[in-house]
Amino acid sequence: QGKFTLLRDTRTDGSFLVHHFLSFYLRAGCKVCFVALLQSFSHYNIVAQKLGVSLTAAKERGQLVFLEGLKSCLDLLFGEEEKQSGQPSPLQFISESASDLKALFDFVRTSLTPASSDSWKGPVLLVDDLSVLLSLGATPVAVLDFIHYCRVTVCYQLKGNIVVLVHSNEDSEDEENELIVNSLCHHSDLILWVEGLATGFCKDVHGQIKIIRRVSLELTAEQDLVQIYQYKIQDKNVTFFARGLSAAVL
């Protein structure tokens, strides 16, 4: 409860973790607000079906609030004037000159604040992925403010969890992105860092995942626990194994 999990990927694509968390929380009966900025709804739906969860059904019964970034951006830019009279679009920072993500935060807050008829277990905010906000014109400070407000509301007030995906590269020249990633790393309770293998591309081992439990945040003078596994992604599943022990080697 009240945990902030950071999904970080370097040189590879960590979106399989997003799919995992989505189906995990939906199956656990939590109310999920999914801010999906990079892909369309049908993409997540198809993968979720392979993992055994139906997103359309979850949406219909109110368990899932899905913000499809691509679609709302189009509605914002090409929509007719009448639509603007309703609620402001969560992504209105794209066309406004003020670069703050307040509208997005309001959207998250209203979707996760429990109504009296809700019987879901804790709220969860899932974001895929945060680096896109920078591409759309938000400043790093605005993005960090947004995350901060979300943490206060979701983690502390509503006792829910947050899972956020960011991309990073070791020798990246994108300083704004690195700033955000470093800052989030310091504030996360759990970091799942997915990396491509340092030795290059391999067909049987798709990458390695580093699990960092930030025990040091709990002020008990302990070090962070770090575990490293390698993984291979299959069509419906991801298999994890200890380093050097992939099925191809054994």
Binding site: D13, F16, S40, S42, K50, L77, V132, L134, G137
Partner: protein, 342 residues
């Protein structure tokens, strides 16, 4: 969304661009061509002619409805089309054969154009037509291009919004040299550009448009000119597929004996991961291309035999490999090919 990083002199990326459009003509798709430097009419006149012989012609009649039946889904993306290796020339089945051969030395005859509808966007003309436009904090040329694409998609019914239009076809969009100064963007000329977010915003909105409609898009960008590498990283994030072309012209690699058979390298930096957890990764990532008199080929890079006294190196012979089709319902995307002829 296929993102192509141009080679230094733009020769080969232009060729790929034309192949994409030519494939569209031959398959009967609609085309939308946008350019700031060449008039789209000229681009279309220079498309390579397809090689059609009798067996292909018979197959084409059967194939066209087969292709269309796969397309009956929304938000479909066709990133690439590869030609199957013609080792089994005798009887190619429809499921493993897609794409066509093209003859680079000849241009496409105008009759082929008549069956398709094509739309063009030539920036100097567009600027003179409508001086005023909402820009949404984006470069005005990009804004216009987006408006134009969105209008075509809506009017021609590619996004399924109009139930009256029953004919479901695909729109192939080609945008040439995006990000160059001709589009009014200054990311190629300065380190701290004024409109640093224009290109990325444009790509995001374009991605939204492509996801919402039956269309596929190829963009070529002079990546070597973009000073700010952060933009390239963001752009890679926003595209489905990123291919970089590095030609050997004028570089030291031209005379390197390792590369003597080839004209350049193909760097596949990202492949699409759509509608599934995994993507179809090929066995090798070293691909090179060469332009023969008639054909443009992409092959696995194999080194010539090393005839010196030092360590012997075996050259990797590439032979026919069966096509790996992605089960994404998108139609054809065989990435695991070794010998790719266009």
């Amino acid at each position: 969304l296929v993102f192509t990083e141009e080679d230094k002199y733009g020769l080969y990326s232009n060729l790929l661009f034309k192949y994409f459009l030519a494939e569209g003509v031959v398959c009967g798709h609609d085309l939308f061509v946008a350019s700031a430097k060449e008039h789209p009419d000229n681009i279309l006149k220079e498309l390579p002619a397809p090689l059609l012989d009798d067996t292909y012609r018979n197959e084409q009649g059967e194939e066209a409805p087969a292709v269309k039946s796969e397309d009956f889904q929304d938000s479909m993306k066709i990133a690439w089309r590869y030609q199957n290796l013609p080792k089994v020339e005798a009887s190619p089945t429809t499921s493993t054969k897609f794409g066509h051969y093209y003859d680079v030395s000849k241009t496409m005859s105008p009759e082929l154009f008549q069956s398709i509808k094509w739309h063009s966007f030539y920036l100097p003309e567009e600027l003179s037509l409508q001086p005023k436009m909402k820009t949404h904090n984006m470069n005005s040329a990009y804004s216009r291009l987006l408006q134009s694409i969105q209008r075509i998609i809506y009017q021609e019914g590619f996004d399924g919004s109009d139930p009256q239009k029953k004919l479901k076809n695909i729109l192939r969009i080609g945008i040439q040299s995006l990000g160059s100064m001709l589009w009014g963007d200054d990311i190629c000329s300065s380190d701290t550009p004024e409109y640093i977010h224009s290109l990325t915003k444009f790509l995001y909105v374009l991605r939204g448009l492509l996801r919402k409609s039956l269309s596929a898009c190829i963009i070529t960008v002079p990546a070597h000119l973009i000073q700010n590498k952060a933009i390239m990283e963001r752009v890679t994030n926003l595209s489905d597929m990123v291919v970089g072309l590095e030609s050997f012209i004028g570089s030291e690699r031209e005379t390197n004996p390792l590369y003597k058979d080839y004209h350049g390298l193909v760097h596949v930096q990202q492949i699409p991961r759509l509608n599934s957890l995994i993507c179809d990764v090929s066995d090798t990532k070293d691909l090179a291309f060469r332009l023969k008199r008639k054909l443009f080929t992409i092959e696995r890079l194999h080194l010539p035999p090393d005839l010196s006294d030092t360590v012997s190196r075996t050259s990797k012979q590439d032979l026919a490999e069966s096509a790996k089709l992605l089960s994404s319902g998108c139609g054809a995307m065989a990435i695991g090919k070794k010998h790719l002829d266009f």
